[in-house]
């Protein structure tokens, strides 16, 4: 019986100790997770330090907590503390501090035993606990101070060791993920560059061809246009004269003299030949030809613009101003069937020609309006993002229109490609946009879903990183 009681008592004690260990472990795990969250979510260092101090206060006792950062002269400087009196104090780097910086937490029995503390000892300075602290780009230490010498034990060292391991793993995972993302971004950038190069080669060939063709066509179009003007004017004159003749001839036809006979014959001929109608038709045909020639002129002008992109102007451009200007210009195109949302976030300045950027935005906004067949929304947004190659501003134009089929998406930047009805577009607008944006060092992204809409995003390099 006695033996059983003893066993029970001891088993109870063991269970209590194991339960305490498990509860301590659970508490610690929860706090570790909170610490991780604090690290990942803190808006700035000050907030991070404050949260870390608060979290550790429920995990271990301390009178003061400090963050020491390694300085260029190898000393450690207090950059954060639960008591501001510690701020900016310095400690010479010794073996213990070095070990802690290298990742091994240390419990010091009494600050008075550590020479590095001789200048910093206060009445409340007893035991010390050091742990490496994950800082973005500097080596740093987390330091806890307790007034009772010998307060910190290897149990506390283990807590900090687990914290260090966890945060280090989290940081490594985070950095690996970031690296992977950056690799993806680089890969995408590379593919973009390759596509851009291919496109550029194609464009150069087309540009050369277009410039030559434009020049060659321009001359005959010029004289044809001039001749057509003459024909149109002459047909109108002929029509006018014919009408006068048809009024003049009937009185002259009365009589039997040769003049009356000739007048009758001419009158009949004019009627038989439907001369007046044909003069009118000739005027119409000439007008149609002039319209056709005007379209040819538009195309030639487009080709000239396309071929003339090297003549780039490099001036600082305020993207928001361009957006506002363009929106005013295209307002009439959109206002009857589109709701226009403007969501502009800050961007840096970009370099290029504001006129050309306006041209691009006009093109995109007009296209967006055309894509919406009945009622819809056009959203213009802007912002900035850091890519591996630097900071870029973006402007996006999104519509809720009919969208672009995936086969067409591959070709939308090709010259003369258009999804509009025949005669309604030259097919050069997006090619010109593409050419302008590339000349500015950027690129255009397109996302489109048939039946849902299309978003064009212009990415342009900022002239200076954000301050």
């Amino acid at each position: 019986m006695t033996q059983t009681q003893e066993e029970l008592r001891e088993a109870l004690q063991l269970q209590n100790r194991l339960r305490q260990q498990a509860e301590a472990g659970r508490r610690e795990a929860e706090l570790m997770l909170k610490a991780m969250q604090a690290i990942l979510e803190a808006a700035d260092s000050a907030q991070l330090y404050e949260q870390i101090f608060a979290l550790f206060s429920s995990l271990l006792d301390y009178q003061h907590a400090l963050i020491l950062e390694k300085q260029a002269d190898n000393s450690l400087r207090c950059v954060a503390a639960t008591d501001n009196a510690w701020l900016d104090q310095r400690w010479p780097l010794d073996q213990i501090l070095q070990r802690a910086l290298e990742g091994e937490p240390v419990a010091v029995v009494n600050a008075r035993r550590q020479p590095a503390w001789q200048q910093a000892i206060g009445d409340e300075t007893g035991a010390l606990l050091y742990g490496p602290f994950s800082s973005q780009d500097r080596e740093a230490l987390l330091v806890f101070i307790h007034p009772q010498p010998g307060f910190y034990l290897q149990d506390h060292v283990q807590i900090l060791r687990r914290y260090t391991r966890l945060t280090r793993q989290a940081r490594l995972s985070f950095e690996a993920k970031l690296q992977a993302l950056q690799s993806d971004e680089l890969q995408r950038a590379k593919e973009r560059a390759e596509q851009s190069l291919l496109h550029a080669e194609k464009m150069v060939s087309l540009g050369t061809l277009a410039a030559g063709v434009a020049h060659e066509i321009n001359n005959p179009v010029g004289f044809i246009s001039s001749n057509m003007q003459y024909i149109q004017e002459f047909s109108e004159l002929s029509e006018d004269i014919t009408q006068q003749l048809l009024l003049l001839l009937p009185p002259l036809m009365k009589g039997s003299d040769a003049n009356a006979t000739a007048a009758s014959r001419l009158f009949e001929q004019l009627q038989q030949e439907e001369y007046l109608e044909r003069c009118q038709e000739l005027a119409d045909v000439a007008k149609e030809c002039s319209d056709g020639l005007n379209r040819i002129k538009d195309i030639i002008n487009g080709l000239r613009t396309f071929a003339r992109q090297d003549d780039s102007v490099s001036e600082p451009i305020d993207i928001h101003q361009c957006v506002q200007t363009t929106l005013r210009m295209v307002n009439n195109e959109l206002k009857y069937h589109c709701t226009v949302n403007v969501q502009l976030q800050p961007t840096g300045q970009v370099l290029g020609s504001s006129g050309q950027l306006n041209q691009v935005l006009t093109n995109l906004l007009v296209n967006a309006g055309h894509a919406i067949e009945q009622q819809g929304t056009v959203t213009v947004a802007s912002g900035r993002k850091q890519w591996p190659q630097g900071w870029f501003a973006y402007v996006s134009v999104a519509d809720t229109g009919k969208g672009i089929a995936s086969d067409d998406l591959k070709r939308i930047f090709d010259p003369f490609f258009t999804t509009k009805e025949e005669g309604k577009g030259t097919g050069l607008g997006l090619a010109i946009c593409h050419s302008i944006i590339e000349k500015m060092g950027g690129w255009i992204e397109v996302d489109s879903q048939v039946g849902e809409g299309t978003r064009f995003t212009l990415w342009l390099p900022e002239s200076a990183p954000p301050v």
Binding site: Q3, E6, R9, E10, G25, I96, A127, G150, L153, Q154
Partner: protein, 393 residues
């Protein structure tokens, strides 16, 4: 972490040393040793200096316990080996041994010894995971105070007071540098893995309580206002009737020590034991540990069977208390010499129970006083106690 226990039963000291050193399969970073006083400590110290590493050794009553890790055969278990070495190799840990002659100022001597150990570990500013001590019997409370002066009261201290075979004062201690009878020795441990600690008595409270009404250091002069020996005799049904005028009562009181309540977690209690070893000429009881005047003492009861099972349970508790996920690599144990003498031949069974319960190298010392750390984190000196420290891999 590598831990190995090697032992020899050879009577010849030189041969025994050669025997154990030959059995070692790695160069140790630290050796803790136990030996029977039939070996001369100075000769052992001289022979084992060839190990060229910090050593801390203490004599153990009738030899020391050695349990070796199983290889292909059954574990080699020696309940009372003449010489036992517990060797440790831990490339990422730090260890040091310090010592000081106890002299007239044991507290100060303890500070000196611990400072030396910390210096040797190379981590003299830091808080160790464990202090393992080998002490001379008599002033353990003062010595523990000296350790606390240096590293604070919360660093666990485990160990035992050196013992001889017949309580005639032949106990010895030695280290890499010297040998003595009154040496305070302490090893500091900064292991690379975790520890599991257990300190416990194998006794039950009987329900009978007495008050220490007159105390002089380790002598209980009066209990409940009457001569201590007489009161104890009453409480135990005449167990020391023949010795009331004076004499050794060590073996007669082993199963009826005094216990002091130590509050543990969740309302449970633990008991720190004090073992009466003799009746003084004036009817008092001398103890192996101090009690406070005015303190309430619980008369404890124990059984041989309980003491036989005890070692294994304390060991298993320590293993259970290793940090989560860590496997045991080896253990050091302290088993009260009084308990060992009480269970007599069953010491073999006690050792076999331990060996069968786990497959790790273990060394145990049979001591005349035990130092250990209860759940409250305070290290204390007691009697008839058993302790274990298990090292994680």
């Amino acid at each position: 972490m590598n831990i190995m226990t090697v032992s020899s039963d050879l009577d010849d000291t030189v041969l025994a040393c050669a025997d154990v050193m030959q059995a070692l399969t790695f160069k140790p970073q630290l050796v803790i040793a136990g030996f029977n006083t039939h070996h001369d400590g100075a000769l052992l110290q001289h022979q084992l200096a060839a190990l060229d590493c910090p050593i801390m050794a203490g004599s153990s009553c009738l030899g020391a316990l050695a349990i070796q890790q199983r290889t292909n055969a059954q574990p080699q278990t020696q309940a009372q080996a003449g010489l036992v070495l517990w060797a440790l190799q831990d490339a990422h840990g730090s260890y040091g041994v310090g010592y000081c002659e106890q002299g007239d100022a044991p507290r100060h001597a303890a500070q000196q010894a611990l400072e030396m150990a910390l210096q040797q570990s190379g981590r003299d500013c830091e808080s160790p995971a464990l202090l393992w001590c080998v002490l001379p019997p008599g002033e353990e409370e003062q010595i523990l105070q000296g350790f606390a002066d240096t590293v604070g009261p919360n660093v666990p201290v485990l160990g035992g007071s050196s013992a001889d075979n017949d309580v005639s004062g032949q106990w010895q201690q030695f280290n890499q540098h010297c040998c003595g009878h009154q040496l305070i020795q302490v090893a500091v441990f900064f292991p690379s893995a975790g520890l599991g600690l257990s300190f416990s008595s194998g006794y039950q409270p009987s329900g009978q309580q007495v008050k220490a009404t007159q105390v002089q250091q380790r002598q209980l002069l009066e209990l409940d206002g009457i001569a201590a020996a007489q009161r104890f005799n009453q409480l135990t049904g005449g167990s020391i009737e023949q010795q009331l005028q004076g004499g050794n009562v060590l073996s007669l009181t082993t199963l009826h020590p005094f216990g002091r309540r130590i509050a543990a977690s969740a309302g449970t209690e633990e008991f720190l034991l004090s073992h009466p070893d003799a009746v003084t000429h004036d009817g008092g009881l001398s103890l192996f540990s101090e009690v406070e005047q005015g303190e309430t003492l619980e008369l404890m009861t124990g059984s041989i069977e309980g003491l036989v099972q005890r070692g294994e349970r304390v060991l298993q508790n320590a293993i259970a208390l290793l940090p989560s996920g860590q496997q045991p690599a080896g253990a050091l144990m302290i088993y009260c010499a009084g308990c060992m003498l009480t269970i007599g031949d069953q010491v073999q069974a006690m050792a076999q129970h331990m060996a069968a319960s786990t497959d790790i190298p273990i060394m145990g010392l049979y001591t005349f006083g035990e130092q250990g750390c209860f759940v409250d984190g305070q290290s204390r000196h007691g009697n008839l106690m058993i302790s274990a420290v298990v090292f994680g891999q």
